[in-house]
């Protein structure tokens, strides 16, 4: 893992000056979703919170969450939360990502991110992993969606903590997120070598 981590660190080091110089904190990028629509951080300025969920096509841990993410999208969307799925494996073909987005019926935009700029920006390392950002690009939460997966091979029959929902509730109530970082378990986000 050392070289991976170091490469990521190098990539971040290279990106950070650009990020910091951006007034709003977001990287300047335009990402296309699986329906062909382009998205830029500009559309986030009017939102109360932005959720980026890193996902992959062939990770069952990630796929299990699509129905819950759709529920979160329909319950928090009307309250000013923008939610996006972000491609977490740039080695998978665009056609396969499109097919997968359709098959699993993602009810919100699923962004291609071939340069892994959003993973670099948030520090996400696995799928599924959720990041909650302020409209100014501050990272308010990074971690698991809930505590379904206690450990590899230890799945909860009944979920008892809903970290992403709790984080959004706190942000919408204008309160600090009580656990801003939780450990996400899943499939590693593929770093280009």
């Amino acid at each position: 893992m050392v070289p991976y981590a170091r490469m990521a660190a190098l990539a971040c080091a290279a990106l950070w000056p650009a990020l910091l110089s951006y007034a709003g904190g977001f990287p300047q990028l335009s990402l296309t979703d699986t329906t062909g629509r382009a998205h830029t951080p500009g559309e986030w300025a009017a939102k109360r919170a932005i959720v980026l969920v890193f996902v992959s096509t062939d990770c069952p841990l990630s796929n299990h969450y699509v129905p819950e993410l759709n529920r979160i999208a329909s319950s928090y969307g009307p309250r000013g939360v923008a939610i996006y799925a972000v491609q977490g494996d740039a080695t998978v073909s665009d056609a396969e990502v499109r097919r997968h987005a359709k098959e699993f019926a993602y009810g919100f935009p699923y962004l291609f991110d071939p340069a892994e700029s959003l993973a670099s920006f948030t520090g996400a390392t696995v799928t599924p992993q959720a990041a909650v950002l302020s409209p100014r690009g501050e990272l308010l939460y990074l971690g698991r969606i809930d505590n379904r997966l206690e450990d590899f091979g230890k799945e909860r029959v009944q979920i008892t903590e809903f970290h992403l929902r709790d984080a959004l509730d706190a942000v919408l109530a204008g309160k600090p997120v009580s656990h801003p970082r939780t450990k996400a378990l899943g499939c590693a986000i593929t770093r280009k070598k």
């Binding site: 069952p60 029959v157 499939c187």
Partner: protein, 417 residues
Amino acid sequence: MKTLALLVAFAAGAIAATPTYNKDIAPILYQNCAGCHRPGEVAPFSLLTYQDTAKRAALIASVTKARVMPPWKAEPGYGEFRDVRRLTDEQLALIQQWAANGTPEGNAADKPAPPKFTDGWQLGQPDRTLTIPAKFAVPADGPDVYRCFVIPLNLENAAYLTALEFRADNRRTVHHALVFADISGLARKKAAASPDGGYTCFGGPGVPAGLVGGWAPGITPRKPIAGYAATLPKNTDLVLQIHYHPSGTAAQDQSSVGLFFGDAPTKGRSLVLLGSQDIDIAPGDAHFVLRASQMLPADAELVGITPHAHYVCKDMKVNAILPDGSTRPLIWIKDWDFNWQGAYTYADPVKLPKGTRIELEYTYDNSDKNPRNPAHPPVRVTYGEQTTNEMGLAFLSFAFPTPADATAFQRALYAAR
């Protein structure tokens, strides 16, 4: 500086023996993982190529180190089993080091030939294939689904089952399957009103039916063994209990089971159920111990063992106390997981003399600290077949020189109970 550190790290790695994909990792994965991790098989992704493997190095390193993969729950040294899917400490270390070194591919000449697999039925074309009568719909989300499908065999005469192979249809949602033979007609009644020929069931089929086979990912179907067969009376219905794990997208399944028939058995088999219904676990009790034992009325050879419990069971031990007082461990599962039920076959039958006492000791954790506890907060757990109940038993499969020996053994055993 960072670049320099990286170069130094690579240089240091090059001096020590650096495991490479071609030389060290591919042989481990081909042997232990590719049976399921290949296109069209039950695992979610393939591990046949360098590219597919290297990009998942971190995940592979984590799950192998935690011994979550390959799935194998029996502790080494407690029973010698066939088809063991457990990596050695050296293999684990190689994978860790390879991932840490940045997944070097190595020399193409070192790469072993990719394994050859049989597609479809692993035991060849079955004598009879039975399929669930109608496609069964599995929801995208929510709790796991346990369904018993009843398939009448409509046999004209008794038949002798020599082997059985389950073939999952929708491999993304089928988690495991158990196959029972019902001669009571009760399962058929339970399923009567259902278009898919099924009913909801969890721990067992809910009827007094005998276990004749099963499947979980990674299990190699057992070839017929000369002389052995299970006699299926002509009124037998097969009950196919399938555990479905919702996958995130709505799914349909129509799995099959292949049956292989042969001559009447010349050797004997007896399936003994060892267990206890004396289960009453207070909420919060993190260490409830269930014990059961069985004296063997005659010499017997134990060929296989299938331990069974539900979600709050955490540790399972079955030992044989021989007449001389010595202990022979039969199985120990330290971290029982209902999701990985397995039938374990001994490498060589375990010879147990008359007077051997087989002892079962299962431990349950009904506290809130047990993530697998289906109740939150915990509730009182008693014996039963539902998700919220517990069970504690082991199916013991014995072999005898003749069918008459097996019958005599069974009679003596039940007379003594």
